[in-house]
């Protein structure tokens, strides 16, 4: 190790971690600058974060498609898999920060969020590219700890503090499970490097299968908690409800995408060879997650909780392609599954952040997140109502929206793999989802606004966020090919 480090120059590090360096460096810079800024100028700090994200994304995009870069005993890898997840993470973070800037009710939000979000994002990016158990775990903790603080950022709100504490406790259980599972892996594999473990396990699997499965179980449960797979999802509605809305959007999109990257990387690289034996667990988890997540949303009246349950259901959809390719020995099927997951993540990002953005504005105007706050929104703000309708229809998977093609791709994977029942459940639960989305649509378009009829005025930044999300939702819904072409052309793991 020491030997390897001697040969590392800064340009090597920059080549493999450029985008991460910009994000983390930006976070430190904002942290410092924020200390010295007078109160009236503090609002520039989120814009600095925007700048850092844009710079990082630019560097990332320039790199996209370049040859795989690692450095000697690789702890870090720049492959298309990592890059595409990082791209999703960066775009989503950017949208979330813009939303935080636009959200007036977030004015009470201390400006510390701008660098906390960057730290979390840095962690998320490290997870996407890490190929060493320690690196991965450090990234995961960086993301988690920053997220705990973000949830509790409303110091004066009891719900926010409560949510933060819950997230911390449950998140710690998850981290413990993951760490415990990884320790078995290290014990059997004799290395912390994923590739090395994979090689060692090829011969060692039969001797240690009990311990390996134990490690798989622990890691799976830990990840299940973090991405809220049923039955480890119970914290989700509480935490989502308590957190400031932009943070909720962050948890729902960035956090999930990063942990999903962790899951895919570790499970494909290490446990992949015995997929046929444990693949059904993922399928079953995916199925109960789809069912419980969508059914759980039915009796809710708080829109944020509805979206929280809906995001649980969406995780079920995201796990489905991975579960479906199961027994396939064709590498192509795995690539197709990864493309469909990435495509769905793009779609999910646009529609979820868009929906949370509209929710933030509506909740602010009515000081309530209840579904009644949406009553007659069409009269009060046709723009927000129309956009919300688009996001909800996309979440429900109607044609000409991103959600439709996302589900369609997932369905194709399930179909190609011959796992028709998974496809059927996908459709059945989407139909259930339509019911509760429709409740919001009905409130917006057919009910009379309660109380004051005043128009909801959206700030320009909010309009930009919502319009960007709508554009993404529509563009992927009408012309999915460009993104599909990019995804199909990727060399996922180099």
């Amino acid at each position: 190790m020491a030997n390897a480090l001697q040969f590392l120059t800064f340009s090597d590090v920059w080549r493999s971690m450029g985008p991460e360096i910009i994000v983390i460096g930006g976070a430190f810079l904002i942290m410092l600058v924020e200390l010295f800024l007078p109160a009236s100028l503090k609002r520039v700090s989120p814009w600095l974060a925007v700048l850092a994200l844009v710079a990082s994304a630019t560097v990332l995009v320039i790199r996209l498609g370049a040859a795989v870069t690692t450095y000697s005993t690789p702890a870090y890898i720049v492959d298309d898999f990592g890059s595409i997840f990082k791209l999703i993470i960066l775009i989503a973070t950017l949208l979330v920060i813009l939303l935080a800037i636009a959200d007036r009710s977030a004015e009470s939000l201390p400006y510390e969020y701008s660098y906390l979000v960057l730290f979390a994002t840095g962690g998320a990016m490290v997870i996407s590219s890490g190929v060493d158990l320690v690196t991965l775990y450090v990234g995961l903790e960086l993301l988690s700890i920053a997220s705990y603080i973000l949830v509790a950022l409303y110091r004066k709100s009891a719900r926010s503090a409560e949510g933060g504490l819950k997230y911390l406790i449950i998140g710690s259980i998850a981290s413990a499970c993951i760490l415990y599972g990884l320790s078995f892996l290290y014990g059997v594999g004799g290395s912390t490097n994923l590739g090395q473990i994979g090689v060692n396990l090829q011969s060692g699997w039969t001797n240690y299968s009990g311990i390996l499965y134990l490690s798989l179980g622990f890691v799976l449960v830990g990840i299940g908690v973090k991405v809220s797979v049923v039955p480890f999802h119970l914290w989700t509605p509480d935490v989502y409800e308590g957190a400031p809305t932009p943070v909720t959007a962050y948890l729902a999109v960035v956090s999930k995408a990063a942990v999903l990257a962790f899951f895919l990387r570790v499970f494909v690289w290490i446990y992949g060879q015995k997929f046929g034996q444990w693949g059904d667990i993922i399928a079953w988890l995916s199925v109960i997650t789809m069912i419980v997540g969508n059914i759980g949303a039915l009796p809710q009246r708080n829109v944020k909780r509805i979206l929280a349950y809906s995001s649980v259901g969406q995780v079920g959809y995201l796990l489905l392609p991975f579960a479906a390719v199961g027994s396939s020995t064709l590498l192509n099927d795995m690539w197709q599954a990864l493309s469909s997951i990435a495509f769905y993540l793009f779609a999910y990002m646009f529609m979820t952040i868009g929906a949370f953005a509209v929710l933030a504005k509506v909740a602010e105007a009515r000081a309530s997140e209840d579904i009644d706050a949406f009553a007659g929104l069409y009269r009060r703000s046709p723009f927000l109502a129309g956009m919300m309708a688009l996001f909800l229809l996309s979440l429900a998977g109607l044609p000409l929206t991103a959600g439709f093609f996302g589900k369609f791709m997932i369905f194709l994977v399930a179909f190609n793999a011959g796992q028709y029942w998974l496809g059927v459940i996908l459709f059945a639960t989407s139909a259930i989802a339509f019911y509760y989305y429709f409740g919001i649509l009905r409130a917006m378009f057919t009910r009379e606004p309660a109380g004051d009829q005043e128009r909801v005025r959206s700030s320009p930044t909010l309009v930009v966020v919502v319009a960007l999300c709508a554009l993404g939702t529509l563009a992927l819904g009408i012309a999915p090919s460009p993104l599909m072409d990019v995804l199909n052309g990727l060399h996922w793991f180099g």
Binding site: K166, F218, L298
Partner: protein, 650 residues
């Protein structure tokens, strides 16, 4: 210009979006102005495109991949546009008639509460129709095909507060949907056997010997379509020819619905409940012609199957005579013209069926001119009198001179009197039927022509001659109404000269890539017969309605049962009511019972379970973080047991 083809449908779409976004705040003049301008530019572009095609020939289709779900061209669905001489001609006709109708509507719809909404729908319709015309593949074609159906529904039911209009809109939509199902199955079968939706590739091998381009019994011709192969019904043992016939007939069912051919013609007369400009645009010149256009577009398919072409010809001929005979007795001015449309569409199908591709398209063009004219003139009359009953009109020649003159031109064209436009095209079709040896169909067409002249001049005499029977002061509707009438009047008069036997300009244009179908040779004797039959029909109308009071009634009494049959439209609607709607309703009643008490019960039970489950999920979320931790650990224990079980340790 061909490079700008995409702009032709996009302009009305842009106008639609503008009106959608801010139509409610716009004045009538602005809304109409935007719409007319958009279509006018489309029209100018169409002229350019026709010129381009005439000068340089058709262009290769411009397509963009839209959806990729498998390997190779079979797994790629494209969108784009294509210009051949046929498309270019349709673009020109559709944009021209649309433009004139848009202008006419400015006056006709003046003061309507939803004026801008009307233009909004019209724009959407024109976009859909133009999009249909330029579609390079069947799937895109089908999407626009359905879209024009939706627009027709919206426009027929525009005055939705009238129960008849709402019912007519529903009927139009449902009846045409029956045809659409056939078309859709046909498209799917074509795709399964050919692996493409593109018109070009679809018929790429059409010139193969004996038209056996479709290998019905062969497995899928493309690789990597695992997912489609599951649904492939190979029709093992089918003769390729039988398969072609099946597909062609299925496609034709779509055309029957859209072009209101027997037995699905019943929706068109009812659709007259819509505003008259809608009838002129959609139910005379454009949408109903889409069925004929479909047959023309798929002409190689029909050529490959003699059975299918014969069916097209027979259905067309029968529809022509049936609808014409119904038109003789109707009292509503618009319904007469509607039955006339059904009948004329029958002629076009007859032409396509006997292989006279150019004649059919020629009649489509001239018919678009004179039928849009007749509808608009009828609209002008209705606008002036506020009634559609022929027997409350009369003597309008004095009050509405422009309407009178143009209606007369349209009526002469429809009757097939030389040198008006309809004469050349209708005679072409009759000649084609005769020369190709379809003597019965020729006779039917000839009798239908006689009826045609009789019913349209019955309308003419009842409306314009004699004395006015009402108590209003009819007057013309202003230049926005008269200009379209005059323009169409000129076209109905001289439009036939685009394809006379001396100078077949249209024929040469359409067949720039070599001959298509069968071109009937000029036959002077048949021409003379056609003209005489037309004059005979006019004479009949004149003697019945102009010579002696009450002569028509006596004639009707003497005709007895025949008259009643015609007046009641041969009871087709009642028949459908009896043999289809009633049994369906009966069955539906049984199903409703099952549905309400058994299926619904199950569904409601499932809903209850779901809801209760949801409440359960809700209460499992107690808010107690200890519980969450406990559940997580419990889940962990279960998971560990499962994985250890898989690992085979216990």
């Amino acid at each position: 210009m061909i490079g700008l083809t995409w702009l032709v449908p996009v302009l009305p779409l842009a106008a639609y979006i503008i009106l959608l976004a801010s139509g409610r705040r716009m004045g009538e003049a602005v809304a109409a102005g935007i719409s007319v301008t958009a279509v006018f530019v489309s029209f100018l572009l169409s002229i350019g495109i026709v010129g381009d095609v005439a000068a340089h020939g058709p262009a290769a289709p411009t397509v963009y991949p839209w959806l990729q779900f498998g390997s190779g061209s079979a797994g790629t669905i494209t969108v784009g546009y294509q210009v051949t001489s046929l498309n270019a001609l349709m673009l020109l006709v559709v944009s021209l008639v649309s433009m004139l109708v848009f202008l006419f509507s400015r006056s006709y719809m003046r003061g309507d509460d939803r004026f801008s909404r009307f233009y909004q729908y019209l724009n959407l319709f024109v976009f859909s129709m133009l999009g249909l015309v330029v579609s390079p593949n069947l799937l895109q074609f089908y999407i626009f095909w359905e879209l024009v159906g939706v627009c027709s529904y919206l426009l027929v039911g525009f005055w939705y507060f009238k129960p008849e209009a709402a019912a007519a809109a529903k009927k139009a939509f449902i009846v045409t949907r029956i045809g659409d199902v056939g078309l859709f199955i046909g498209i799917i079968l074509l795709y399964l056997s050919r692996g493409t939706f593109d018109f070009n590739t679809l018929f790429g091998a059409a010139s193969a010997p004996s038209g056996m381009m479709i290998h019905a019994a062969a497995p899928l011709a493309y690789a990597g379509a695992k997912f489609f192969s599951l649904w492939y019904i190979p029709f093992a043992g089918w003769h390729a020819g039988a398969f072609v016939t099946l597909v062609a007939l299925l496609v034709f069912i779509g055309a029957i619905g859209k072009s209101a051919q027997f037995p699905l013609h019943v929706w068109l007369p009812d659709a007259m409940e819509g505003p008259t400009p809608v009838s002129a645009l959609i139910h005379a010149a454009t949408m109903v012609a889409a069925g004929v256009y479909l047959v023309a577009r798929m002409f190689p398919l029909f050529e490959a199957s003699a059975t299918a072409s014969e069916t097209v010809a027979v259905i067309g001929g029968f529809t022509a005579i049936l609808a014409a005979s119904i038109g003789l007795t109707q009292r509503d001015i618009k319904r007469v013209i509607a039955y006339s449309t059904v009948s004329q569409l029958g002629y076009m199908m007859l032409a396509m069926g006997v292989g006279a591709y150019v004649s059919g398209m020629f009649h489509l063009v001239t018919h678009a001119f004179f039928k849009a004219l007749l509808f608009l003139a009828a609209g002008s009359v209705i606008h002036a009198l506020d009634t559609q009953d022929l027997f409350e009109m009369g003597g309008l020649r004095k009050y509405l001179p422009v309407t009178h003159a143009t209606f007369l031109a349209g009526a002469l064209a429809l009757s097939g009197i030389p040198p008006f436009a309809g004469f050349w095209s209708k005679d072409d079709i009759l000649t084609a039927a005769f020369t190709s040896g379809h003597y019965v169909l020729y006779a039917m067409g000839l009798i239908a022509a006689f009826f045609t002249a009789a019913y349209i001049f019955r309308v003419y005499f009842l409306t314009f001659s004699g004395v006015y029977k009402g108590d209003r002061h009819p007057h013309e509707g202003g230049p926005a109404m008269t200009i379209p009438l005059i323009a169409l009047g000129v076209l109905a008069t001289i439009g036939g000269f685009i394809n006379t036997p001396f100078a077949p300009i249209l024929g040469n244009f359409l067949q720039d890539q070599g001959p298509i179908g069968f071109n009937p040779p000029a036959n002077w004797a048949l021409m003379a017969v056609s003209a005489l039959v037309g004059l005979g029909g006019i004479w009949l109308a004149y003697t019945l309605y102009r010579t002696e009071e009450g002569r028509a009634e006596r004639f009707a009494q003497r005709a007895g049962g025949l008259y009643t049959l015609s007046f009641n439209k041969f009871y087709v609607d009642e028949l459908y009511s009896l043999i289809i709607v009633l049994p369906v309703m009966k069955i539906a009643g049984i199903f409703q019972f099952l549905d309400r008490w058994i299926i619904d019960g199950i569904v409601r039970l499932a809903g209850e379970i779901g809801y209760t489950g949801g409440v359960g999920v809700k209460y499992s979320s107690t808010g107690q973080v200890q519980t969450y931790g406990l559940v997580t650990v419990f889940g962990l224990a279960v998971m560990v047991l499962i994985v250890i079980g898989i690992g085979g340790v216990i």
